[in-house]
Symmetry: C2
Subunit: 151 residues, 2 copies
Amino acid sequence: MKNHESELQTLLISTINGLKISMKSIMKEQGIPLSPLYFMILKRIHDTENCTANFLADVTEKDKGQITRLVKEVIAEGLVIKRPNPNDKRSQFLQLTDSGLTCYMTLENADKAVLKEMRSEVSDEELQQFLSVGAKMLTKLNAINHKKERG
Amino acid sequence: MKNHESELQTLLISTINGLKISMKSIMKEQGIPLSPLYFMILKRIHDTENCTANFLADVTEKDKGQITRLVKEVIAEGLVIKRPNPNDKRSQFLQLTDSGLTCYMTLENADKAVLKEMRSEVSDEELQQFLSVGAKMLTKLNAINHKKERG
DNA sequence: TTAATATAGTTGATTTTGTCAATTTGTTTT
DNA sequence: AAAACAAATTGACAAAATCAACTATATTAA
C-alpha cells in the first residue's frame, strides 16, 4: 500500500478550512459580528457546567492570555457573565446570558445544518467508523505531542 | 442513532490543532525559523510542477496578498526562487532552491514520522476507509460553500 | 503554621495570520 | 483597439497566537 499519510493531512486541513469558511459565512448571514473562534468559546461555555477560563484554555489548547481576552470580548458584547467560583477565589464561572444563549443557539443550529448536509451521503455506520478511527489517531497524536513536551 | 456531527467537528479541530503543535515543535527542534504555514507553502511548491503564486492562493484558499508576502519571505530566506513563466508574463514559476529542498525534506521527513506514528494503530484498510469517507464529506462541504458563494 | 511552590487569571509586547481594497501589468474577448 | 478579465503586488488594518511577567489565591510540605 502507498503512503496515505500525506493525503490524510491534506484532507484534514482542507476540511477544517471548509468548516471555518462555512461558519464565517453563517455568521455573516446572521449578522453576528463574531468570528468562528467565539463560537467555539460560546459552545464550550454552553456545554460545560461551571466553565472556567482555565478550563477553556485547557480544552481549546490555547494560551491563557488569549482566553482572557476572548472572554473579555464576549462579556463586552453582553453574551457572557462571570459568577464567582465559591470554591476558589481566584477563578470565576462563565455563563451565557439570555442573549448569549440566543446567539449561540442560532449559530449552533446553522452549524449543525452544515454538518448534517456535509455528512448527508455518509451512512451512520461509516460515520461511526470514521469517528472511531479519527479518535484513535487523535489519542496517538496527543501522546506524541505530550511526550515531546516533557522529553 | 445520536447526533455525532458535533463530535465530528470537535475531532477535526483537535486533530488539526495537534498537527500544528507537532509541526511547530518539529521546526523548533530543527532550528528552522519558520512557522507551519511556510511548510505548507514549501510543500506545495515542491509537489507542484510550475507552481505559481496564483495556484498557491487557490489550493490553500488563502488571500493572494497573503501569498505574495509568504512567498516573499521564503525567497528572502533563500529557500525559493522565481523563474519567468514563458506562457504568461504576469506570472512566475516558483521553485525550491537547493537549500529550500534540504529544508523541506527535513521537515517533510519529520512530519511523515509523526503521521506514521499517529496512524500506527490504524490498519491500512481502516485508513483507506477513513480517507474515503473524509473525502466524501469534504466534497460535500465544498459544494455547500461554493453554492453559498454564488447564491 | 509559615515558607515554598503551584495555580487561576490578567496584562503588555510582539509575531503570525487573515482580510479588504486599490493598483500595476499583462492577457483575453468582442 | 476598447472593455473585461486575470496574476501579482502593495497598503492598511484586524484577528489570532505567543511569550513573559505579574497579582492574588491555594496547596504542600518543612
